[in-house]
Symmetry: C2
Subunit: 157 residues, 2 copies
């Protein structure tokens, strides 16, 4: 069982932007995490569609959070990005070839377990994922960017 | 996000054996579900190790439940078989290259969500997955056991 990389990267982008007082480019985020720029760009577009980040145009354009980190629910983001249709074969109505579909209680059991998983994530806001923005930025080896404001208000609006 | 096929097949084997009054061979189970015999054999061995099924030797040998379906906990089986170390990169201590490991709260949030997932599955016993064994067997195209099934059974075994 594994979280889709798309969702994983989305949460990383959001955490990165939450520690920035200004926007950040995808190049900057890709370099910070050491992950594919092209993949990150696709994920950023998904987050723009969800209206949790926004694209800033112009020479110093990039992405920034569209709302405060305290207003972005982790469960919401995971629900929107994570595909659960293929969690087991019988979840996918289009390609379900399991001969016991409809006669076994596994689908119901797994659905309730997945609901519990998502309900737990609903209890977390993006701000909860960055308990110490300074330490977060230090670990990204970007000491030059740690603003003095990070202690009190590290979040971009 | 997807349940490992190994776990999926394990639950299918258990459900199959729970509807049988006698043992079943891997060939029989593989034919019933239309899935790989070799893969099923590996899964059956895992279930023997977990002591929820047992191998019967001899000419009519096969596998049978080692305990009653009411005594086999679904959460136990999933916990034992499902690998969660790679759920996200930072769960795997051996190959964790994420630069924010230790500074972000995502691991804690996801761990609590996975705990909620498993705790929900702990509420189900194998017997709960087969609310109607007759219907289950009918759908597996085993008309010899339930002769009136021919009309209602659209699936190939």
């Amino acid at each position: 069982m594994r979280l889709n990389l798309h969702t994983d990267y989305a949460l990383r982008i959001l955490m990165y932007l939450a520690t920035k007082s200004d926007q950040a480019t995808v190049d900057e985020i890709a370099a910070a995490y050491g992950i594919s720029r092209n993949h990150l760009m696709k994920v950023a577009r998904s987050l723009v569609e969800l209206q949790v980040i926004e694209a800033r145009r112009g020479r110093s354009g990039g992405f920034a959070l569209a709302v405060a980190p305290e207003a972005i629910n982790v469960g919401f983001v995971v629900r929107k990005l994570e595909s659960l249709e293929g969690f087991v074969e019988c979840f996918d109505r289009m390609s379900n070839g399991c001969p016991i579909a409809g006669a076994c209680g596994l689908q119901g059991a797994l659905n309730s377990a997945l609901a519990a998983f998502l309900e737990k994530l609903d209890q977390f806001m993006l701000s909860d994922l960055i308990p110490d923005p300074n330490r977060f930025l230090r670990q990204l080896n970007r000491a030059d960017q740690v603003p003095s404001s990070a202690k009190t208000r590290p979040m971009a609006a």
